[in-house]
Symmetry: C2
Subunit: 351 residues, 2 copies
């Protein structure tokens, strides 16, 4: 079968690879749509980061590059392994793309998203969504019901947002502040809107992204290049600051703004993955007793995320800015996202 | 009356100042004991920091230096203002030394310790504990019952610890990790022990302080100059890391260790006040979903702290390493604490 495999920076090839075998307790999924994630772009531009390098096989998969990419995917059940009777051939499903040890302290706590050996299908081995077939254990298979698999491919990024919003403790009477209206900022905005939060403020400098934020659910959009973010947020929140804030950029000045714009005793959730150590004025945390919380991926968030879409609280179509064939993944997918970063949100690939 | 007043770095003088008048709704306290705090030392060494400089009067007191120092004090009620009938002359009391606006968002939330105009008696004006008499509003007066006023002078630093432990969410079955066995690290250790936490680990390099930690309640003391803290903490906590950790040092490498030694999903409380921006590997927070929380002072913690001492759960005598007269405050107080930093914890001054 065909698969888009990562060999190193700037080097993704369409290879012919063996079909994965269905084993007892697993489900074989025929992928219909798979989104290209910012993480995939980082691998393409400056990796390998998550992808195991040639001399460092992943602890759980034992694989090294070349690795099949793609972890935001949904499809149709193609075959079920022995012992599986609650998922059937033809069911539409999304795959939660984790690879975990199952026995470390984090796994024992149910926080499998911070498993100490964490890996991802589509980054660490065991195939990926940019190929025709993927096999995963039953626990990672989530039925989509009547939802289309194109929307199903959006479940993964929306689950990241659902998780971050859940950790933040956001309540309906809260004001929320999202820094960045790239893909993660937009899905976070949408998840906040779906959660019923009263007021959502998005901070974003890029023109194309500023236009998308209100569609995702922003009540106000602040341009940090022309406004003083901290004072504008205070003005919009009756002098309080935001109850919860979300750093989706991974930039020192943004984190500083996020902390200073958060209400005394409030929570700032760091959703970004950082490429460097941040310079943090810890006294800003102390003098406002702000809580800075790391959020990674999702854990037990998929069912609620699917329900969020199925109930119409989020319309994921707004995030789909392209649909392409697997053969065109580099030119019309990765290169397009790099060259037209601000216009695009999510490009879906059909293997 | 006599008062130790701060004029600038290295310049504390014993002055004769007017006695403060008792007003309606206030209580006049005759100070019996007042501890010298690390904050006072910072002012002496490199201030003015909290003390309002000559050109920047405090928003609420309107005062500038010279300022009477001393905010860790207890004494006996000397006079009560009109309208006060629940505190009587002769009562032993401790004064919660806050000066707040009462109407900002933090005050409205009851988090008056992060009032946007926060000041301290003994740093921002309205007198201080290094003088014979202090007048404060009734709300800041906490009866000590049968406790001596020497122990009463320890209520303030122990309230800082009580607050930090409360914010951390520490539970009896938790393991706790305290970085630093200076005064704040030691009282935090004692407050953790009083809270019933199962296991307490203290990290401290200085020999004299390492000896004090077990007396305060440490089950294990790790010397970071001879041990790998992160791996030793993991070993002591069944591979998990500490459920809660406390950064009481304000040092980049310590904060890094604290975050890395905290259990997945656990909480790291920053108690230190920082003299610089910290370099923080935000990904360490993200990949373990650790929660970094700022803790400042105390809010509604004094009654429980007094009860913690009265019930015998903490013995504050261990922290008293000197008792001196007001006239000797510079030589036997500030200079002694600077020259014999590691041997001393708390020196009490008798005005």
């Amino acid at each position: 079968m065909k698969a888009a495999r990562y060999y190193g920076p700037g080097d993704i090839r369409i290879d012919d690879v063996p079909e994965p075998r269905t084993r007892p307790g697993t489900v074989q999924v025929e992928v219909e749509w798979c989104g290209i994630c910012g993480t995939d772009l980082h691998e393409y531009l400056e990796g390998p980061i998550f992808v195991p390098a040639a001399d460092a096989p992943h602890a759980l998969t034992g694989e090294t590059l070349p690795i099949t990419l793609g972890h935001e995917f949904a499809g149709v059940v193609h075959e079920v392994g022995d012992g599986i009777d609650d998922v059937h051939v033809g069911d539409r499903v999304v795959v939660e793309p984790y690879i975990i040890c199952g026995h470390c302290d984090a796994c024992a706590q149910g926080k499998y998203n911070v498993c100490e050996s964490l890996g991802f299908v589509g980054l660490s081995g065991f195939g990926g969504g940019f190929s025709q077939l993927v096999v995963a254990e039953r626990r990672w298979i989530h039925p989509l019901g009547d939802l289309g698999t194109d929307l199903g491919a959006l479940v993964e990024p929306l689950a990241v947002a659902h998780h971050a919003v859940r950790l933040s403790g956001a309540q309906p009477n809260h004001s929320a502040l999202v820094f960045g209206a790239g893909p993660i900022g937009l899905v976070t905005t949408a998840a906040l809107r779906a959660s019923g939060v009263e007021q959502i403020i998005v901070v974003e400098p890029a023109a194309a992204r500023k236009q998308k934020a209100p569609i995702a659910g922003a009540d106000h959009v602040i341009d940090p290049t022309t406004s003083d973010v901290v004072s504008e947020v205070r003005e919009l929140t009756k002098g309080r600051g935001a109850d919860v804030s979300f750093e989706c950029a991974g930039i020192d000045a943004v984190l500083k703004s996020a902390i200073l714009s958060t209400r005394a005793g409030g929570t700032c959730v760091n959703v970004a993955i950082w490429g460097h150590e941040a310079s943090v004025a810890m006294n800003d945390l102390v003098f406002h007793e702000v809580n800075v919380l790391g959020s990674l991926g999702y854990a037990n968030d998929h069912p609620a995320t699917i329900e969020m879409i199925a109930s119409g609280k989020v319309d994921p179509f707004q995030f789909i800015t392209g649909r392409i064939a697997l053969d065109d993944i580099v030119k019309n997918g990765f290169d397009e996202l790099i060259n037209n970063k601000e216009e695009n949100v999510k490009i879906l690939v059909q293997p």
